[in-house]
Amino acid sequence: MIAVKATLLRDLTLLLRRRGEILNPLVFFALVITLFPMAISPDPALLAIIAPGLLWVAALLAALLSLDSLFRSDYDDGSLEQLLLAPHSLAALSLAKVAVHWLLTGLPLALIAPLLGVMLSLPTGSYAVLALSLALGSASLSLIGAIGAALTVGLARGGVLLSLLVLPLTIPVLIFGVGAVQAAIVGSGVAAHLAILGALLAASLMLAPWAIAASLRISING
């Protein structure tokens, strides 16, 4: 438990000292969303229809972008070997790393999404659901994505392969995330969608750490 906490603190400190890396996905998210009203049409009625999908797709891609660096620096400087040789559960230690990734990528994305929603004239009343669905969904994305990041960490350019591996697995999260926001807009119940997002998160919380640990072992073996 001490080791998990120490890993959490270490990664938080490291990332907070390199703010650029935290800002990258946020800037990407903001840029993509800013371009849509210019490229498609500034018509609020049209934008309001496509806003939930746009916001979710852009957030998903922004989160994917940041995944490649999850284990990369640990692999390069030899800390990953030490993590594997620590007399602790590798699954728990990797869960700490994923938690840091979500705290500094997924959560900020969820928090600025309502702001960008204003830019796409997202109907009022759906902002809270947007943030909540993104917060829940991005936690699953971090967990699922970490499996891909662990599998590709040994490759020099694993970025594209990582996206190919992870994207199909994230589709359910995307569908129910967008579904929740759309339900909030039309005024039908959002509880079902959020519950399914929560269930997806619970399932990934249970299974992903083991898969990440196994993938890291495979990568270090290669």
């Binding site: 080791a3 120490a6 270490r10 000292r17 400087d77 030899g78 070997e81 040789l85 072992r217």
Partner: protein, 206 residues
């Protein structure tokens, strides 16, 4: 406690080339075993196999007479591995780096110990400087401070002398021998000639 790491018929093939084959190795408490051989002969690979990081090999490993797969937890609790890459975060200070290692090895958080370890390796005064601003030799010393910080019986060290100055090398040699005398065992690869000692054993690869 007497420790015994045993390898039987160890073989490793990389890119259709046998790095080593049918290698038998016995490492006991109170020994410094130096693996030597030319570049590319598989020293690092051998150390990684012996420290349980690689599973792609032939042969069998035993720890205190038990098959490694069954004794892995006990083995890891006694192992200190220092690889080619030092495992030091450049964005953190030496003190913070050691704090992580202390927690990772399951020791309790003790700043006094960390400061002592850094002082004994010659880094007094650099405790709070970001490791990225230190020289290569000093960065290596941060990693070597773990030898003092974490009491572990089996040391597996891959080229620990890299970038270390002459005094540092002499200190480290003394530390290795002292560790073996105290009942630990050391497995080390290096191109640097270690001073003759009754505890020292050489294994040639390639």
């Amino acid at each position: 406690m007497s420790l015994h790491l045993q390898a039987r018929g160890l073989g490793c093939e990389r890119d259709d080339r046998w790095l080593f084959k049918g290698l038998d190795l016995d490492i006991h408490s109170g020994e410094v075993v130096r693996i030597e051989g030319p570049n590319g002969c598989g020293k690092t690979t051998l150390l990684k196999i012996l420290s349980g990081q690689l599973s792609d090999y032939q042969g069998a490993l035993f720890w205190n007479g038990t098959v490694m797969s069954k004794a892995r937890d006990h083995f890891l609790a006694n192992l200190l591995y220092l690889g080619h890459a030092p495992g030091i975060k450049l964005g953190l200070s030496p003190l913070e780096n050691l704090a992580w290692y202390q927690a990772l090895s399951g020791e309790k958080d003790d700043e006094e110990q960390r400061l002592n370890a850094l002082e004994s390796i010659g880094l007094a005064g650099f405790e709070e400087v970001p490791t990225g601003q230190l020289s290569a030799g000093q960065q290596r010393r941060v990693a070597l401070a773990r030898l003092t910080l974490t009491p572990r019986a089996l040391w597996v060290l891959d080229e620990p002398f890299t970038a270390i100055d002459r005094n540092g090398i002499a200190d480290l040699e003394r530390q290795l021998v002292a560790h073996a005398k105290a009942g630990g065992c050391v497995l080390v690869t290096t191109h640097h000639d270690l001073p003759a000692s009754p505890l020292l054993r050489q294994v040639a690869l390639g």
